[in-house]
């Protein structure tokens, strides 16, 4: 029997809520679930939304926000890590529903895709911060990126990193992983699901030396003193010291496995 999904939204750090839902994908005859998450960051003066979720997720995320926002400071900002629709697909609907929200980050493409909201788009660059009161959302180096325009986000209040397509891996719905954090999904084979994700979405990682990116990633985690990680596609990580080494192993394995064949019949053996 298929287990129910664990309830969302979920507060993964004080004033930081994980929103969204999974997207089912079938690879090699196997069913994988992957998040296209959004996050709500609550300051004393304002709230910010990080990512919008996949286009299909807006009705659910909208209901999740309806349940969370009453009694909180106003939602003033939307930060989207980059322009791919699993990250930004709800942008138009968020901007429409919340007319006072400003879109912040890299603004490439958005005025072409949503020209009606161009006057509410605020271009920011690396190191810029949006003050929410008691905490800020800072733009930081995107070590593993999906477009040249990617920015990662960092919450200075709870030291949470929002790494977009970094830490991207599927999970097993049948094992009850939906809505769990990485440390709770005990049966999750992170190298295997990282390789599946890389094959589908991070083609470039198979053609470069990923050790360079892993070293830079560790540098960023150390420099920022990251205490939790809120990826868009993976399960949130609450114990980086325990989980990040598994993620690194997954990235290296995913980059070393040959591409799947034309019919995506499953992972090819190690090259």
């Amino acid at each position: 029997m298929t287990p129910p999904k664990n309830p969302m939204p979920r507060e993964i750090a004080p004033g930081l809520f994980w929103l969204g839902d999974c997207l089912e994908q079938i690879t090699g005859g196997k069913v994988y679930h992957t998040y296209n998450a959004a996050y709500l960051l609550v300051g004393t003066d304002a709230c910010a939304m990080v990512e919008t979720g996949h286009p299909k997720d807006f009705p659910l995320i909208s209901r999740q926000l309806d349940g969370l926002l009453p009694g909180l400071p106003p939602l003033k900002y939307l930060f989207v890590t980059h322009q791919e629709t699993p990250h930004s697909g709800g942008l138009g609907r968020v901007m429409h529903k919340y007319p006072d929200v400003q879109l912040v980050g890299d603004m490439c493409d958005y005025a072409l895709a949503f020209p009606q909201f161009a006057h509410r788009m605020v271009p920011l660059k690396g190191g810029d911060e949006i003050d929410l009161g008691g905490r800020a959302l800072r733009l930081v180096e995107p070590v593993i990126r999906d477009l040249r325009t990617t920015w990662w986000g960092f919450d200075t209040g709870a030291n949470v990193l929002f790494p977009a397509d970094g830490f991207a891996y599927s999970h097993y719905h049948e094992d009850g992983h939906c809505g769990l954090c990485a440390e709770e999904a005990i049966s999750l084979d992170i190298p295997e699901v990282s390789a599946v994700f890389a094959d589908r979405a991070l083609f470039w990682t198979k053609f470069t030396n990923m050790n360079l990116y892993i070293d830079r990633l560790q540098w960023l985690l150390d420099t920022l003193d990251v205490r939790a990680i809120g990826p868009t596609h993976g399960l949130p990580i609450l114990d980086p010291a325990a989980t990040v080494p598994r993620i690194k192993a997954g990235l290296l394995y995913g980059s070393a496995v040959a591409e799947m064949g034309p019919d995506a019949g499953g992972l090819a053996p190690m090259a």
Partner: protein, 308 residues
């Protein structure tokens, strides 16, 4: 730096909505490039941050009998122009299909809903069975009283023959995974017009003028390897330097050896016409990839904003 609390943040100016458009006929009655201009100056993720001038977003209309196929649906800012372009080219009763070559990107999917409203949209081709969910930005489904009417999806494998029209009498197209790509991307070869549709590859030809020109033949091409190299490294391919480009070159060679290509039809920028020009452009790309291989140059981490 602290960007502030919103009171003093500088917002963008709205894009110019009417920078220009053009319909470029590749084969009369069979293949048209529907081109709509947009400004660069850091506004487009597909171009280097320091690129100045203009480019075009290209959607391609393939006509065959009472069927037509549109490759990519264009950007929302161009929706009205694109719909007018299509309306002028197809006859009443023509059934239109659309194939977003990069289902994750706005340039491919922004106008699918608008096309479904404006035309008899038969299907959306995709490698994702749930493509209808990927192209629904609420334009139709959020309307009061909207009926559930998702666009029909026709699933395409990683490599597959498609037809404009029915399988027995229609026009065959070969769809396959792009040999070089950043995200999930399909290329298409149309034997009837000897055209290779390359999505976000071969899109390094833009213009300082909004008027273009927006197509290129051998006589007007002065592109250099240095330009192609800089374009690749400053757009989607920052990771190429010191990487395994030998494998990518082999993948590309398979495509260019297999197909007889007279036209290169990228999703952005000038359309390229003529076998000699196609060969020259491919050779430029191959030479640049060879110069970036790990056997020639050492890989290093590249910061987001480093221009090369």
């Amino acid at each position: 730096m602290n960007a502030g609390t919103g009171d003093h943040l500088a917002t963008l100016a709205a894009p110019a909505r009417e920078l220009g458009s053009a319909v470029h006929t590749l084969v009369e009655g069979r293949l048209y490039a529907l081109q709509n201009v947009f400004g660069l100056g850091g506004a487009a993720s597909a171009y280097p941050a320091n690129a100045q001038g203009y480019s075009v977003c290209n959607c391609y209309l393939l006509k065959e009998g009472d069927r037509a196929l549109l490759l990519d649906s264009g950007l929302a800012v161009h929706a009205s122009s694109l719909i007018s372009q299509i309306a002028r080219l197809i006859e009443p009763g023509t059934r239109l299909s659309v194939y977003p070559l990069r289902i994750n990107e706005f340039m491919s999917v922004s106008n699918v809903e608008a096309l479904a409203d404006a035309f008899d949209l038969e299907q959306c081709y995709s490698s994702n069975a749930d493509a209808a969910l990927w192209v629904d930005f609420g334009g139709r489904s959020d309307r009061p009283g909207a009926k559930a009417d998702p666009v029909k999806t026709t699933l395409v494998k990683r490599a597959q023959r498609l037809h404009v029209g029915d399988e027995a009498r229609g026009r065959a197209l070969e769809a396959f995974q792009a040999p070089i790509r950043l995200i999930g991307t399909r290329w298409i070869y149309d034997e009837a017009t000897r055209t290779l549709f390359t999505s976000d590859s071969f899109s390094w030809e833009w213009s300082l003028e909004a008027e273009g020109p927006w197509f290129l033949d051998g006589r007007g091409c002065s592109t250099t390897a240095a330009h192609v190299r800089s374009f690749l490294l400053n757009t989607r391919y920052w990771w190429l330097e010191g990487g395994d480009t030998a494998t990518l070159r082999k993948k590309l060679a398979v495509v260019f050896d297999k197909y007889d290509i007279e036209n290169l039809a990228p999703g952005y920028g000038r359309v390229m016409r003529g076998r000699d020009l196609v060969q020259r452009q491919y050779q430029l790309l191959d030479d640049v990839l060879a110069s970036l291989d790990r056997s020639v140059v050492q890989a290093r981490y590249v910061d987001r904003d480093e221009l090369r």
